[in-house]
């Protein structure tokens, strides 16, 4: 408390300055990417053209003409929307059960779910590829990508929803039971309306994670279900060539999600701080 009460002039100036520096540091790569996307490939690697160059839309034109940006974008939308829907569909009842009918093992189960996120994904790369390609035959399908994205995000989604649901007074849920509501009715009529803000934040975050996921979407697709991550990956050239082109593709890939994030800032902050900001 003493820290709050004792606002020295130093901290009034130093903290905002520090915050700005950190923010700019984080923003710089994005800014650079945006700039580079308007340069020719030749300009992109010349230091003298770092800030001063003749902007061109050539990279963007190329992208839609030669690489079918829209197909990748559509796949990204399908995968992210569907995976988010599936995750919520499974996650809401699970988190509800854990928040309002906990058993002895609920805490352990939550920890265990989170621990799966601590394993390196690379460890199961070969079995996953082999299994989906040679045995199940679902390699490079929407089904597979939606399944994988859902499973990856389920633990964190259940954790977040659990935290939000915990804040709903138990009495209200119990009043629902006394008023003759079925379990599904309780979720639909009471839980979802009351935790709406939390669910929206969770959904948004899940959507962003799905959109940005690259490890599996790159490795488990070739063309049919390939997402924007794959498009970026496909434009990566080892020699540092085609920087302009790569930047344009990247900008077009992250653009939608950045805009979405911008519009939903408040929900996102609430989501990331697990409801601590009211």
């Amino acid at each position: 408390m003493a820290i709050v009460a004792h606002h020295s002039r130093f901290s009034k100036i130093a903290w905002p300055v520090l915050a700005w520096i950190v923010a700019l540091l984080f923003f710089f790569p994005i800014f650079w990417m945006l700039l580079t996307s308007f340069k020719t490939d030749a300009d992109a690697v010349k230091p003298e053209h770092l800030l001063f160059f003749t902007p061109t839309l050539e990279n963007y034109a190329n992208m839609t003409e030669n690489y079918d940006y829209w197909r990748f974008a559509t796949n990204s939308v399908i995968a992210s929307v569907m995976a988010t829907a599936v995750t919520l569909f499974v996650g809401i009842p699970s988190a509800y059960a854990m928040a309002f009918n906990p058993s002895r093992s609920t805490k352990d189960m939550l920890m265990w779910m989170l621990s799966t996120k601590m394993l390196p994904a690379a460890g199961v790369l070969y079995p996953m590829t082999f299994l989906t390609k040679n045995i199940l035959g679902i390699f490079d399908t929407h089904f597979l990508i939606i399944l994988v994205l859902s499973l990856i995000n389920l633990p964190i989604v259940i954790w977040m929803l659990f935290t939000y649901f915990k804040e709903i007074p138990r009495d209200i849920i119990e009043a629902g039971k006394m008023d003759g509501v079925s379990t599904w009715g309780e979720i639909r009529e009471i839980l979802i309306p009351l935790a709406w803000g939390g669910i929206a934040s969770t959904a948004l975050l899940c959507f962003i994670f799905c959109w940005n996921e690259a490890y599996w979407t790159v490795r488990l697709t070739t063309t049919d279900a390939a997402t924007l991550s794959k498009l970026i990956e496909g434009n990566r050239a080892p020699e540092g060539l085609f920087f302009g082109r790569l930047s344009a593709v990247s900008t077009a890939a992250v653009g939608p999600i950045v805009v979405l994030g911008w519009f939903c800032q408040k929900q996102l902050v609430q989501g990331l701080t697990f409801g601590a900001v009211k």
Binding site: D171, A175, M178, D179, V181
Partner: protein
């Protein structure tokens, strides 16, 4: 109808047995009050009946039907919570109509019953507000409205008035009593308020550590408490307990004398003591008397006109026919 029967019911949370085997009958139309010290298991017992807690063993029967495994939504009981537990996202109208909507009643029937309930509970002007825009007393009425519209087999109340101020509490107490007289529906009411228990109940169940100490009408409990615990718990101010030769003279281990059954005199009496504090309540005066040689303090209730100072010597005489006698195990000797 609403006859509730508990047979051999127990409840444990983990290793802690909160309710040891317990039997209880609540007759149709009866107003039953559970009282007991904090943590004795009143709420747990009520929640077992409601179905919000699962019994560890034993059976619960409602109107002859074994409901032990039946979920709360199917038991046909209505509950009013201490916290009111209104749905914050619904208007008062929707809150009250909610159980009817869940039961699939027609919209017309819902509207009709909401209106009837709102009229009897003075809520007509607030039907389109959300619970957050209501006072505590109004919220309590909405909670009651939500409970009555569906014609439950029985009402369960868990300290419904404890969040209200004193004046409102008296008013609501009367309203609930009137409601019971009018509807004749079984009601189970948990409270730790003596006055609520004594004035509202047809039957009081005194609990201690999950064990039923005594069941009876308010006057039965007041006139013939079956043991020291009930004697000390029912009645306010608390009954005085006297041990030693005075008790032995009356062939008892402990004597119990209620403060209102002791006469005060400045001249003569059976016992003598020194006034320590005298509390004036207007209608009554409570005297706390020391140095009687009978107990640390004797509490005496006299009429409000009498006034003593700290240190005054007074003489006390118990009304012999009102003296309760208990044996060494604390049980009543009759």
């Amino acid at each position: 109808m609403g006859r509730i029967l508990l047979e051999n019911v127990t409840k444990s949370f983990g290793d802690a047995q909160v309710i040891p085997p317990l039997d209880l009958v609540i007759d149709d139309g009866e107003f039953t009050v559970f009282v007991g010290p904090s943590g004795c298991g009143k709420s747990t017992l009520l929640r077992l009946i409601a179905g919000l807690e699962e019994t560890s063993s034993g059976t619960i029967t409602i109107d002859g039907l074994d409901v032990t495994q039946v979920p709360p939504s199917k038991r046909g009981l209505a509950m009013v919570f201490q916290s009111y537990a209104l749905y914050p996202h619904m208007t008062v109208r929707k809150n009250i109509a909610f159980p009817m909507r869940m039961a699939g009643l027609s919209q017309a029937e819902q509207d009709k019953r909401v209106m009837t309930a709102a009229k009897s509970l003075n809520l007509v002007d607030y039907l389109d507000r959300k619970p957050g825009q209501l006072s505590g007393g109004q919220r309590q009425r909405v909670a009651i409205g939500r409970a009555i519209v569906r014609d439950p087999t029985a009402f369960l109340f868990d300290e419904p008035l404890s969040n209200l101020d004193a004046a409102l509490r008296v008013g609501m107490r009367l309203e609930i009593s009137e409601m019971h007289k009018r509807m004749q529906t079984t009601m189970i009411y948990v409270t730790h308020d003596q006055v609520e228990a004594m004035t509202m109940a047809d039957k009081i169940v005194v609990l201690q550590a999950g064990v039923i100490e005594q069941v009876g009408s308010p006057l039965e409990l007041y006139r013939s408490p079956c043991n020291l615990f009930v004697a000390g718990f029912i009645g306010s101010p608390k009954m005085n307990f006297i041990t030693g030769t005075e008790a032995a003279n009356r062939h008892a281990h402990t004597l119990g004398v209620r403060p209102e059954h002791i006469a005060v005199s400045t001249q003569t009496g059976a016992w003598t003591g020194r006034v320590s504090v005298s509390e004036h309540l207007g209608s009554d005066t409570f005297l706390h008397v020391h140095e009687t040689g009978l107990a640390d303090t004797l509490t005496v209730r006299t009429n409000g006109e009498i006034s003593f100072k700290h240190g005054d010597i007074i003489h006390l005489t118990p009304r012999e026919e009102m003296v309760h006698r208990f044996d060494a195990a604390g049980l009543r000797i009759s």
